[in-house]
Amino acid sequence: MKIIYTDVLIIGGGLAGLRVATGVKDRGHDTIVLTLIPPKRSHSSAAQGGMQASLANCAMGEGDNEDVHFLDTIKGSDWGADQEVARMFTHCAPKAIRELAAWGVPWSRVARGDHTVIINAKKETITEKDEAHGLITARDFGGTKKWRTCYTSDGTGHSMLYAMDNKAHEKNIEIHERLEAIALIHENGRCYGAIARNLMNGELVAYVAKATTIATGGYGRIYSVSTNAIICQGIGQAIALETGVATLGNMEAIQFHPTAIVPVGILTTEGCRGDGGLLLDKDGYRFMPDYEPDKKELASRDVVSRRMTEHMRKGKGVSSRYGDHLWLDITILGRKHIEKNLREVKEICENFLGIDPAEEWIPVRPTQHYSMGGIRTTYQGESQTLKGLYSCGEAACWDMHGFNRLGGNSVSETVVAGMLVAEYISDFCDKAESSVNVQSATIEKFLKREKEKIEALLTKKNGEDAYVLRRAMEKIMMEKVGIFRNGDDLQEAVTELEELYIRSKNIEVFRSKSRAANPALVNAYRTQKMLKVALTVAYGALLRTESRGAHSREDYPERDDANWLKRTITAWPDENQTLPTVSYEDIPISNMELPPGFRGYGKDLTIHHPETKVRQQMVDLIKEKLEKEGASRHEVQNALMPFLKKLPKKYQKFNERLGDIHE
């Protein structure tokens, strides 16, 4: 029996996991990062367009601050987010980006003087101030009031991840590559690490730790077409679920990105539209202003994806052998701009479509892109129900995105959450209660159980083919749990997925019987786990009889705050049950800084909660009184919803901006 002990076990080597690792190491704790692949190949590297942080350096970002970023994030979430968490996040985003700047990310910078840009299909001139020259610049993104998305061309995630991984090397962080966590070790409501399988030689290893962090990203690959890397299969969420103790939050909240290329589903960044690109239909007509006259192509992602789908349903899509699509036109930005700021997009168009996007339009359609849901945690990133289990980044639901994430907020979340959760974990590890009191018999029990599961898959006779089950699952998710949802389809999806799940208990790995590197075996056990995750998504979507953010029910088009201002919590307490257990957690209005309101897209169909009015009046009163007294924006904010004390001390200070210095 191979057992490896450490203080903090981190599962996942993307931006969030690596940032937790450097943070806990700085605090003097030992750490090991387990990754399926070399960290630099993580899906974080695929983030193209940028990272939101309210630096307010560039001309179009002037006047930006945490308050505006907070407002955009909450509106974007359709009031599903935890407002304290969103405040913590927007407060720390400028710190995180400045840290990354010092760690080597070559952020694109403000250049003084006049620049020609494309805004609403017209050429305009903006003038960058002298004093901003050389500071980090930003571009426009959907659903934001200011230009706030900082970038390195359209390889932002790549540059961030490389800087972060290099930092991890500098700190001598132990990274165990090609190790897959397949089960959590836990007892009496406390997590003690994980059983991991070496993907090269098949060895099972028990990693025992005071704190275990899951930072494995999203679960987009339960859909047959997704912009996600093929490793984003929800295995992190599944192993948390399989404890029967830890819970998942808002699994039905799935984001569809408006512009993935057809048919392969590779992303072209929101930066294309942020920089001035347009969406056109089969007649070459720019349709978005008809639907959203105010924000047009730069409405929130969920809104643009729905509008595109509506427009295609009206017969305005371009037909192709792979189904209908629309066009993304970036030719108007000019070759020079594309080759400098959209070069990954250009490479993708050349390599996968054989077109030059400076000359031709790009075929796009909305495609699964982001998982707002994930392992439900407190604002400290700890599971609400399983002590010692932490999670952050896309894997988690702590919950700053609610039912729709803003573009540019995902990589930003990874590094901010990583920074914060590292401190909370370190605080926990500093305490005596964190010590590992687990008997070796317990560890052995988990190891034995996992070994037996793998043996069963390899030795079963006349069993099911995992590839067949998985393809069926992916198809159900695509067709019945998509952008627009309805009760009949969702009920069918749940019934069919449940059947698949029952069949998945009988999976047999055909022919390929190796106990070492064996892709068929990996697919077999992951398919069992993915089906559980798919069920939490479909079942949560079926039960939520309202439309909120990316969860859009044709049979319930209203956002129903009166009944549904709550988070969906799913668990799997008994391994014999074939559907997840669902419960709900209220999102209290009484302490909201920004009480529920209208997002400003389409018609206002909100069914308001009676408390909203009461809270809004109180907020207005407090604001009016304090503003009259000449209070600062920080004082007003603090009176409405204090959050600073929840942050680790070292991150409580206010952020300096150019405006503060030159006023």
Binding site: S45, G104, H158, S159, I230, L353, A517, P519
Partner: protein
């Protein structure tokens, strides 16, 4: 391919070997796959695994030419398989793992461990001991053009194509390769890294570094990100020569 034309039957010849199986030995195996519109080697290999042989080992992650996982020899040339369209190739396609890296099995290689070793050896991170970082204050300024130049070199995806295409490393296994030299060029350009020329000389001023390169420049020919490897190696060599003569 028009709708009317009969699709080609591709013959995919794969160099196979499972080092964990004592009875196995390296051998070629051929799979036949019907070509489809817009087909890439990612799709081809996925079809082989799902329908013809589920034990076939290969690595894809982003499948979008971004992550560098899937470098392999396609008809003898190192390249990213995920973005290789079959329509640009003949019906007979030969696939083999990148040489020089540890073989996990079939087309899957452990390039990650090699790159991790390289990064540690060359200390590919910002060295700045003096400055206490205050992340509440404005960030340090940088000239916009310089940031762009650094990004240009930062685009390396550590796929290993340049290593597989390198003549020098065949003879000097400890040679840092173009991937290593490019990283040094990147940090040397970056004013945030306070290392001196002498410190860089310690890292690459020898036969396993910039003076080992025989200037065959296979690296630049095969780099999927079209990095300016030739000019950066030449630049580093001049710089290091100057530093060496000074010392």
């Amino acid at each position: 391919m028009s709708e009317l034309e009969k699709p080609r039957i591709l013959k995919i010849h794969v160099l196979r070997f499972d080092p964990h199986n004592p009875n196995d030995f390296p051998h070629m195996e051929t799979f036949e796959v019907e070509e489809a519109d817009g087909m890439t080697l990612y799709i081809v290999l996925g079809e082989i695994r799902e329908h013809l042989d589920n034990s076939l080992k290969f690595d894809f992650v982003c499948r979008a030419g971004i992550c560098g996982s899937c470098a392999m020899l396609v008809n003898g040339r190192p390249t990213l398989a995920c973005r290789t369209l079959t329509k640009k190739l003949d019906e007979d396609i030969t696939l083999a793992p990148l040489p020089l890296f540890e073989l996990i099995g079939d087309l899957s290689i452990n390039s990650g461990a090699w790159m991790q070793g390289l990064n540690k050896r060359l200390e590919t991170w910002i060295h700045d001991k003096e400055q206490e970082l205050n992340i509440n204050k404005l960030e340090e300024r940088m000239e916009p053009e310089l940031a762009d130049e650094i990004y240009e070199l930062d685009r390396c995806i550590e796929c290993g194509c340049c290593v597989a295409g390198c003549g020098t490393i065949q003879m000097k296994p400890d040679f840092v390769g173009a991937v290593g030299l490019n990283k040094i060029a990147r940090y040397h350009l970056d004013p945030r890294d306070k290392r001196t020329d002498e410190e860089y000389y310690e890292l690459i001023g020898d036969e396993n570094g910039v003076f080992g390169c025989m200037t065959l420049l296979g690296c630049e020919d095969v780099c999927p990100k079209s990095l300016p490897l030739q000019s950066k190696i030449a630049y580093l060599r001049r710089m290091m020569l100057r530093t060496g003569l000074k010392g």
